[in-house]
Symmetry: C2
Subunit: 397 residues, 2 copies
C-alpha cells in the first residue's frame, strides 16, 4: 500500500500582500499624493502607500507614541497572532504588548512596513501607476532615509509631532539613527539595537551574494515574474538567499548545539546525496522555503540594497557631523555573539554620540544566539528598555 504524501501547495511567485488580501490590522497612509516622492538615490515614486499597525491609545497630547522599526524580513506586525492578512505572529511580541517592556497599555505603539517592502507598503510588487502592472524591474533604488521620510508622513497623518522613542533592531536600528539625524526635533529618545552607523564591507558582501543568489534563479526573470504561476516564480533563489542570511543571523555555537552533525530523519545512512543528509541542511531548507512563501524576491533585493547603502554620514559631512545632530538620550544595545553586526559597530554608535556630548547608555546582551538575539533575548532586552522609557517619560518637561 502506498501512503499518499500530504499535498504541498506550490510556492507563489511572490509572497507579497496585495490589494484584496485580508487587511488584518493594517491601515494605510498615502504619501506623495500631490507630487512624486523624490528618492535619495535619484528615482521617483508616485502614489506611495505605507501600511502600518498601531496598538494602545494615543493620549491627548500625542506624547505617548513609540515608533517600532522592523528589520529586513519583518513587517508592521510587531504584536498579535498570525491569521488572515498576517502570515506570521508578531515578531517582537514578547517585548511589545500589554504590560510588557514596551507597554501598549501605556504607550501608543506604531509600526509601519518599510518603503520597498512587501506587506502592504509600496514596493516592487505594488502596481506601478504608470503601467498598471507591478513595478518589478522598474522599482527604483530606495534608501533607509527614504523609508524614514515615509514614516514621518505616517506620524503626520496620526498627529504625532514627536515620538517618545523610536526603537528597532538590525535594519530597524538603522532607521532609528536616521530618525534622530533627519528629524532631531521629532524624537525624545532612540533605541538602536544590533545596528550600525554604516554598513561594513562584510555586511555588503554577504547581502550582495544574497542578491546574486536570487538573480541566479532563472524564474526571477530579471525582476518581472509577477505573472508567473505558483511554483514558477523565483522562490528557489529567494530561499537560498534566506538560507545564507539565516546562518549569519545565528552563531556557530548555537548551530553546533542544536544540530551538530545529526543526520536528518529522512536521510538514511545508506542514502547519502549531494542534496540532503544533515539536520542543519533541512533546517535551512525549511526556513528558506518558509520565507519564500511570505516574501517577495524583488523586495528582498530592494531592502538589502537599502541596508548596504546605509551610511549616516553620506552627504552630511561625515559620520561625526551626522551623529552630532542627535540630541536626545540613546539606549544602545549590542549582542556579544553577533558576528554579522558585531558589538564594535554598536560601540562606534555610542562613541560618535559621546563625541557630540549626547547621553548614551550602552547595554550588551549576553547570548549564544548571534544577531537574532535581538528577537530572542527579551528577558535581557526588556528591563533596560522599560527603565529607559520610564526615564524618558519622567524627563518630559
Amino acid at each position: 500500500m502506498r501512503v499518499a504524501r500530504p499535498a504541498v501547495e506550490p510556492v507563489p511567485a511572490s509572497g507579497a500582500w496585495t490589494e484584496g488580501d485580508p487587511l488584518g490590522g493594517r491601515r494605510f497612509v498615502d504619501v506623495a499624493v500631490d507630487r512624486p516622492l523624490a528618492l535619495e538615490a535619484g528615482g521617483h515614486l508616485r502614489h506611495v502607500r505605507i501600511a502600518y499597525e498601531t496598538w494602545g491609545e494615543l493620549d491627548a497630547e500625542a506624547g505617548n507614541a513609540i515608533l517600532v522599526c522592523h528589520a529586513l524580513t519583518g513587517d508592521s506586525h510587531v504584536h498579535g497572532p498570525s491569521g488572515p492578512g498576517h502570515p506570521t505572529p508578531g515578531w517582537w511580541q514578547e517585548l511589545v504588548g500589554p504590560g510588557l517592556a514596551i507597554d501598549t497599555d501605556r504607550w501608543f505603539v506604531v509600526c509601519a512596513n518599510v518603503l520597498g517592502g512587501c506587506q502592504g507598503s509600496t514596493g516592487p510588487a505594488s502596481v506601478n501607476p504608470a503601467t498598471g502592472r507591478p513595478y518589478g524591474s522598474r522599482f527604483p533604488i530606495v534608501t533607509v532615509r527614504d523609508m524614514v521620510r515615509t514614516q514621518a508622513a505616517v506620524a503626520d497623518a496620526l498627529g504625532i509631532g514627536r515620538w517618545l522613542s523610536v526603537v528597532g533592531g538590525s535594519m530597524g536600528g538603522m532607521q532609528v539613527l536616521e530618525w534622530g539625524i533627519t528629524y532631531p526635533h521629532r524624537v525624545r529618545s532612540l533605541i538602536p539595537v544590533a545596528a550600525n552607523a554604516e554598513a561594513s564591507a562584510q555586511q555588503i558582501a554577504l547581502q550582495s551574494i544574497g542578491r546574486h543568489t536570487v538573480r541566479l534563479d532563472a524564474r526571477w526573470r530579471g525582476g518581472d515574474y509577477y505573472d508567473a504561476e505558483p511554483g514558477d516564480g523565483p522562490h528557489r533563489g529567494l530561499a537560498v538567499a534566506r538560507q545564507l542570511a539565516q546562518v549569519t543571523y545565528r552563531s556557530d555555537e548555537v548551530l553546533a548545539q542544536r544540530f551538530g552533525r545529526r543526520v536528518a530523519d529522512d536521510a538514511p545512512e545508506a542514502d547519502i546525496s549531494l542534496w540532503q543528509r544533515f539536520e542543519v541542511e533541512r533546517y535551512l531548507q525549511y526556513h528558506g522555503e518558509k520565507l519564500a512563501r511570505r516574501f517577495d524576491a524583488n523586495a528582498y533585493l530592494a531592502i538589502t540594497k537599502a541596508m548596504d547603502l546605509h551610511d549616516v554620514g553620506r552627504g552630511r559631512g561625515g559620520r561625526e557631523t551626522a551623529m552630532a545632530r542627535i540630541r536626545v538620550p540613546v539606549l544602545s544595545v549590542g549582542i556579544d555573539s553577533d558576528t554579522l553586526y558585531p558589538p564594535y559597530q554598536q560601540h562606534e554608535i555610542a562613541r560618535l554620540l559621546r563625541l557630540a556630548g549626547t547621553p548614551v547608555q550602552e547595554v550588551e546582551l549576553h547570548s549564544p544566539h548571534g544577531h537574532d538575539a535581538f528577537l530572542i533575548e527579551i528577558d535581557q532586552l526588556g528591563p533596560p528598555v522599560a527603565e529607559f522609557l520610564a526615564a524618558v517619560e519622567k524627563a518630559i518637561p
Copy 2:
C-alpha cells in the same frame, strides 16, 4: 568615438583539466585497475587516475618524502609558476621550495590532486568508462578517506612506505588526520593546519548553501553540462558559491581595511544599481569568475560534500578512539581570526591527541586574515614547520 572594450573570453562550461591539455608538471598513477575502487559511501569507481607532482629527490631509503595535501580549490601545483597546464602559480610556494621551510633541496615533496577534483585526478568531469562520457550527475559520493586511500596508491607507486610528514591546511588538514588514523604505520609525523576532526554544523551549512547556489544555475543542467558551449555552463552558479566561500575565508577586519565602503571605479555616484556599487562587490565578482574559469562545478559539489562528511570518528567508535590511532608527533596549527575553522577545532584535535598520550605541539597564527591565513602568513607558519620537520628527522632511529 566609441572605444572598443577588450574582448573577454566566455567562461568554459568546465574549467577542469582534461586529457590532451598540457601536462605541466603532472604525472599519473592508475588506481583500481584490476577491480573497482569501493568507495566509503557505497559507490564504486573504475579506472581511477590520480594526478600528482613532485619536487626534490627521493633518497635511497625513501625516507625523506613529505606529502602535501591541498584544500577545496587547490590542486597538485604546490610550487612553480602558472603556465600551460597549470592555471595558477603554486598555492604554497612561499612554504614549499628550495631552501624554504618545506625544503625541496632536502625533502622529496609530493602533492596529488584529490579524488573528485578537476586538475587531472578522476572526478565528475572525467570520462566514465561505462559510458564514454563525463560522469557528471553519475559521479558517486566520495569522502576524505577515499581521497587518502588513493594517495596511498600514489605512495606505493613511488615506493614510499612511510612519509616523513603529511602536511595540509583546511581540507588538506582533514586528509592529514585521516592519513594518521588510516595508515598510522605509514607516517612519521603530521601537520594539520586550520582543520577539524569533524565538520561542524556551521561548516556544513555554509557549504550546503554553496552547493544549492550551483544548483540554482539552470545551466548546471542537473550536473550534465559538459557538452555546453563556453558561456553556457554553470559558471555563474559556481562563481556565486565562490563569492560566499571567499567571504568566509577572510575576516570582517580585513574586508573593512581593504574595501570598507569604497565605491568601485566603474560605479559613478549617480548610477546606483542593485548589481554594482561597492568595491567589495567587484572584488567578489572577480574572484568568483576567476574560480569558474579554472574549476569544475561538479567537482565543487563533490569536494564540499566530502568535507561535510568528514568525521574522523565515523565507524570507528567515535573521535577519541579514532584519534588514539595516531601515534606520531603532531604539529597542530590554528589561526586566531579564523571564524570558519575556529581555533577551538584545532584545540580539539590537540586535546584528543593528548588524551591518547600522543605528543602534540600547538601553534596559533596571529593574523587578521581569517581562514586564508594558512596561505598568507608563511612568515609565521614556516619556522615552526621547519623546526618540527628537523626534529622529526633527527628522531628517526
